[in-house]
Symmetry: C2
Subunit: 342 residues, 2 copies
């Protein structure tokens, strides 16, 4: 009998590690391959940054409450976020779609409107793609290309002891937006006459349906001549991403619960839903904020930027990765981020 190992047992990152363990590099121009937000290839002076993402209906989005225009916008933005997370500027995308025959041209046009809106806002060009049918559901694959000056790209694996741990914007809102949308969907399915009550939740719902990529943070850091020592975007949840940086940089960290930025609207919605705002920030995902580490001497340069919060610091690996709670308890950080395989 053939051996059978379930993918669930490995999770996405274990799976990628396993499948790429024997990977060989053929081209001298390949500077950074699998294992970061994006790959880096050398092109005669400047470097090209490449990232790709796949979004699958029923796994990553629910068309019952996701307007197609927003979906097109988000499909682009989540890829651009990976390019910014390398400290690079996105320039081009390709887009491949598979969809079943329940999609009309009008529906696809709406999707593309969102794609073009994102291209326009972030000044990137859609340069190619593929469209085909699927047996079931809508599948979106975007590859983004960007550019960065030589040696200016920032990896996940280069955080150093004593560095400040920083995050942009606020966290947890996208997850809370998803939670309320899912709740209203269930209510609607049980009784189609009840109108959804979403008016007060525009902030969190907006963060879920139409996220933005933090090009402003990249511009700010460049303007202040700050090179983060490590960086990635927050797509799976803060705790999962912090553990990636710690593992790949071979360091530990201390994170302060009270420093984690959570929007007032998120806090209120969390309360209403009976959820812990900190748990939403740590494990929610889809915030597309930037998580990065800085040398301590750069601290003065960021204090006036209200969009950047210092949430902790990097320690020696032997000290592990911990969170200090508001009640001054110390807990080990565990990855409970979003996992498509569970």
């Amino acid at each position: 009998m053939e051996e059978r190992t379930e993918i669930n047992d490995l999770g996405e990152f274990g799976l990628i590690e396993y499948l790429t363990r024997n990977i060989e590099i053929n081209n001298a121009g390949t500077i950074l391959g699998v294992g970061d937000d994006a790959a880096v290839i050398d092109h005669f002076g400047k470097q090209t940054v490449v990232s790709t993402d796949m979004l699958v209906e029923g796994i990553h989005f629910d068309l019952m409450y996701t307007p197609l225009k927003h979906l097109g916008y988000k499909a682009v933005v989540v890829n651009l976020s990976d390019i910014y997370a390398m400290n690079a500027t996105p320039t081009h995308i390709t887009l491949s779609l598979a969809f079943s025959n329940r999609f009309s041209l009008e529906a696809l046009s709406e999707f593309y409107e969102g794609v073009y809106a994102a291209c326009d806002k972030y000044k990137v060009d859609l340069i190619g793609g593929d469209t085909t049918t699927s047996q079931k559901g809508f599948v979106i694959s975007v590859t983004a290309l960007g550019e960065v000056a030589p040696d200016k790209f920032v990896k996940r694996s280069t955080a150093g002891k004593g560095d400040l741990l920083c995050v942009s914007g606020d966290l947890g809102a996208a997850y809370l937006g998803l939670t309320i949308l899912e709740r209203e969907k269930q209510i609607f399915l049980e009784n189609p006459n009840i109108q959804p009550d979403l008016e007060n939740e525009t902030y969190c719902i907006g963060r879920q349906l139409k996220p933005e990529a933090r090009h402003d943070i990249i511009s700010f850091l460049a303007g202040k001549e700050i090179m983060p020592t490590a960086m990635m975007d927050v797509s799976d949840g803060l705790s999962s991403e912090i553990l990636h940086i710690c593992k790949q940089s071979e360091v530990g960290c201390v994170l302060y619960e009270e420093k984690i930025p959570v929007h007032d609207d998120s806090r209120q919605l969390a309360m209403k839903l009976g959820l812990d705002p900190t748990a939403c920030a740590l494990s929610g995902g889809e915030d597309y904020e930037l998580l990065f580490t800085l040398k301590q001497e750069d601290y003065d340069k960021i204090t006036l930027n209200e969009e950047i919060a210092v949430i902790g610091y990097i320690t020696d690996a032997s000290e592990g990765a911990h969170i200090i709670t508001r009640g001054n308890n110390k807990h080990q950080i565990t990855a409970q981020g979003w996992n498509a395989f569970k």
Copy 2:
């Protein structure tokens, strides 16, 4: 009531034309966008060529008779073929996959073995990707990057009157391979005790399951200092591709049936299946040969290459696109290539 236009009515190319009709270019480095085998972007001297393809289970492949290793190999090769079709050299790929939980790690490993075999053979690097679950079926998205010296890339839109119409290798075999695999599948489904009779059909089945991209033709042309005036790869069938070149170059053509290269094994299998070998070559698809046009003065340089056949010539657009049959009849060429939307 909302308007609803069926995608079927447009076909893939009509759909792409419609969806990209208002496309705007933001980056000066975007040299060639949507509408060819690949896009071209400028990177400080050399140019980067980008192509992407999506393969969907049940639409593009049937796992009942497609070994996963072959599928991985083919998923890479069909993208590299698009890069070669630009007269460029592929250097990197990204790979995104969605699969349901019926796939084990062993199955995925087999698929990746094929991916790596193709990367190894064509000297390209897998630099990134995404893996996720699907509700149903296996979806593969590959983006390939390549490089080409400035102004050496070859488009579809630049064929000129009087140019020779050429094709590499032979045509129709991949379609015939698919046909026999589908027939044996039906026989097996009706009576699982009957063993498939495929031994004599290794050539055609090989062309279907494990195609190769024609890097040898690109090397040969470069060695002889021949720049094709237009080029594309044959993925949808010869007639469909010829019409693309005619439409985009605003020219007509004459194609000679007797000049279309068909392998002896293909001819025999076509006979056995009661199919016309020429129809298989014209409409079959998936041959991944190169279709290109040359200046007449380059004719002497290619006569000794048995892998290149001159199959016709380019005319004024007003003369249309025609095939001269063995019986010396003249017919208009119509696109009956493979269409995922039908």
